[in-house]
């Protein structure tokens, strides 16, 4: 088993699915010519391997999603790439009013088997290019929302998303593209809607997803030295939401923290915390804590940008507060 990057894992998933199914096509802004394979390089080389099936398209996100949806209705399996998740706002009508509603509103006559891939993230890109909208996306019936945190999950879940008969919004993260992890050479597909214990522990349950999994694992390694064991749950899919492993974990640890990169107010963490207390109130010895991004439009300045984003140290601080009963 070789260590490969998250980016390479995504590309392998795309290659395998395009080889398996001639109806899979990839459309996106600057995914062929620019820089030899896209702004973030995920599709590099695929256009040559699959002539005519990987195409640069106009910068018109409402059309990328809408034309993709029409193609999906007609039997194509499009993977539509939005260069960053910020640009999904331009396509919001298509995502919410059309993609997510087709199957139900037309009483099961129309399926929309399409994937919308898009990275969240930041990097001195200021407020319009440093956002994440998984809480909005996860609130839409009809849509599935997948957000892998490791190369292994990225590959298995992208393959599942392409094969799924429902529309999947597949969120990636700029800071994850270069991260490495073990990915088997043999083919595998992971189920959508199943969360996973990424690290077992006795003292405190952390529920998280996406890049914050990486920061939480860093925090767990630091705290282990002090004798505090975190049990880390990676949601992997945000809709449908599988909280069963988290509830099982809390039965053992009796404490929970939700860690997310997005805003705290009306964040997905609020939904998760509310659901946990509804279903596991008697298992809890402490209020559920939230670690989240600060609620300001992302500033450009390096120090201010860093101040708004949660890192491992924020997770560590939240864990210490809880272990010291400072709540």
């Amino acid at each position: 088993m070789a260590e490969i990057t998250y980016r390479e894992a995504l590309k392998r998933a795309l290659r395998e699915e395009m080889t398996r199914d001639p109806n899979v096509v990839i459309w996106g802004e600057d995914i062929v010519a620019y820089g030899g394979g896209g702004a973030y390089g995920v599709t590099a080389g695929l256009a040559k391997e699959f002539p005519g099936r990987v195409r640069d398209v106009p910068i018109a996100e409402e059309a990328i999603v809408g034309v993709g949806l029409g193609a999906a209705m007609g039997g194509i399996r499009p993977v539509c790439e939005l260069m960053t998740i910020n640009f999904a706002l331009v396509a919001w009508d298509q995502i919410v009013n059309h993609v997510a509603k087709q199957h139900h509103m037309f009483n099961r006559q129309i399926q929309a088997p399409m994937v919308i891939r898009s990275p969240a993230g930041w990097g001195r890109t200021a407020s319009t290019h440093s956002q994440t909208f998984e809480n909005w996306l996860a609130s839409i019936p009809g849509l599935k929302v997948v957000y892998p945190s490791t190369p292994y999950d990225a590959k298995g879940l992208l393959k599942a998303s392409i094969r799924d008969n429902d529309p999947v919004f597949f969120i990636e993260h700029l800071a994850l593209y270069g991260t490495k992890g073990e990915v088997p050479d043999e083919e595998y597909v992971l189920p959508i809607g199943v969360s996973e214990v990424k690290r077992p522990g006795r003292h405190l349950t952390v529920v998280t997803w996406g890049r914050m999994l990486v920061e939480t694992m860093k925090a767990a390694r630091t705290l282990e030295v002090e004798g505090i064991e975190l049990e880390v749950i990676d949601l992997r899919t945000l809709r449908p939401l599988d909280l069963a492993p988290a509830l099982e974990s809390i039965r053992k640890t009796n404490r929970a923290i939700v860690v997310e990169e997005g805003f705290r107010t009306v964040g997905l963490g609020a939904e998760i915390a509310a659901s946990i207390q509804e279903m596991a109130f008697n298992d809890l010895d402490a209020p559920i804590a939230r670690v989240a991004g600060l609620e300001v439009p992302m500033p450009y300045a390096r120090n201010l940008e860093r101040a708004t984003i949660p890192f491992a140290e924020d997770v560590i601080a939240a864990v210490r507060r809880m272990m010291e009963k400072k709540y």
Binding site: A60, V67, G70, P78
Partner: protein, 348 residues
């Protein structure tokens, strides 16, 4: 077209007119709720266009869609039942008036976000091109749609990839209540196609034969790989934008003038002049369509509302377990009958 086909065009237009008048009556009697956009005055476009297409060509429409559904051969019963919100309707009471559909007849639906369906039509045309089916996509919108971003994004993309799609604008000269001079910098809508180097034509939307011929031409072009087209059909609504519109903003004289150009009596004149039908034939058709619409109302009224326990069906292609859907982590949301407590759904 032979005599029978020509007479059938008249019958379809009259069926739509009688159906729409009856819908207005049912709306007033609260059998129909929400938004109801009637097609009175514009019947020649749907009937002329669909008679020019193959039955397996794809159809995507705006929300003023009753005429297209009927002209595609969907029964008046199924359409009226949908307006009533009944399980026997075209989408089992899910979509209502604005979202009629019958995919078995390749009618992919009426869409209610202005211009939102144009990219979908381009996408269906891509599927036809990819699979080399020879199908053409017919996509219809109102004049108000031609100002929104998706109009320009979809036309650009369709021309860029030479997709087999006919974008048809029913220019009834008002975007809801705003007259075209106040909503579009270019009032001859077909001229907008030049921005994308797309073939475009303008046609009298009240002349069913002129529409038929135009769509025949454009469909042949698209089928031959010559790419998309923009067709502007100039017409006028006899009623307000929807049943909620008191229609005070359009000058009475303009409405009266266009009612003089009603496409249905005009086509009756053609049939009589060419001796393709007698006055008795036309009277018989009128009696037949009246009976068909009365039967549709009786059918709709007798049909059941969709069952409460089907509420979650079809949100996903395969049922999924989601605590956010029904508060349960166990099993898919359609496992058992719903028990309603304080407005919250729980499986019993």
């Amino acid at each position: 077209m032979d005599r029978d086909k020509l007479v059938s065009l008249y019958r379809q237009m009259l069926l739509i007119r009688v159906f729409e008048d009856k819908s207005a009556e049912m709306y007033a009697r609260a059998k129909i709720g929400g938004f109801l956009h009637l097609y009175n005055g514009q019947e020649a476009i749907a009937v002329g266009a669909l008679s020019a297409l193959r039955p397996d060509d794809d159809l995507v429409t705006h929300y003023r869609d009753h005429g297209y559904a009927l002209a595609r051969g969907i029964s008046a019963r199924a359409v009226m039942a949908e307006l009533f919100g009944r399980e026997t309707g075209t989408t089992g009471g899910r979509g209502g008036s604005m979202h009629l559909a019958d995919v078995s007849k390749r009618f992919w639906g009426g869409y209610a976000i202005v211009g939102g369906h144009l990219p979908l039509a381009a996408g269906l045309a891509y599927a036809a091109q990819h699979h080399k089916t020879g199908r053409v996509v017919f996509c219809v919108m109102g004049d108000g749609s031609t100002n929104i971003g998706t109009f320009h994004a979809a036309l650009n993309w369709a021309q860029l990839w030479r997709l087999p799609v006919i974008f048809t604008v029913e220019n009834n000269q008002y975007a809801m209540g705003t007259v075209i001079d106040n909503h579009s910098a270019v009032t001859e809508i077909y001229r907008k196609a030049c921005a994308y180097d797309m073939h475009a034509e303008q046609v009298d939307g009240n002349d069913v034969l002129a529409v038929h011929e135009a769509v025949c031409r454009l469909a042949e072009r698209a089928r031959n790989g010559e790419g998309p087209a923009l067709l502007e059909a100039v017409t006028f609504r006899h009623r307000g934008h929807s049943m909620a519109d008191a229609d005070v903003q359009r000058p009475r004289s303009q409405v009266a003038e266009w009612k003089e150009r009603d496409p249905i009596p005009a086509f009756a004149e053609v049939l009589l002049e060419r001796k393709l039908a007698t006055p008795q034939d036309l009277e018989q058709i009128a009696r037949d369509v009246e009976a068909e619409v009365e039967d549709a109302v009786a059918f709709a009224d007798a049909s059941a509302e969709p069952a409460r326990e089907t509420l979650y069906e079809g949100i996903y292609a395969e049922a999924v377990s989601n605590m956010q859907i029904d508060g349960s982590l166990i099993g898919p949301p359609t496992l058992g009958p719903m028990i309603i407590k304080n407005g919250m759904g729980r499986h019993g």
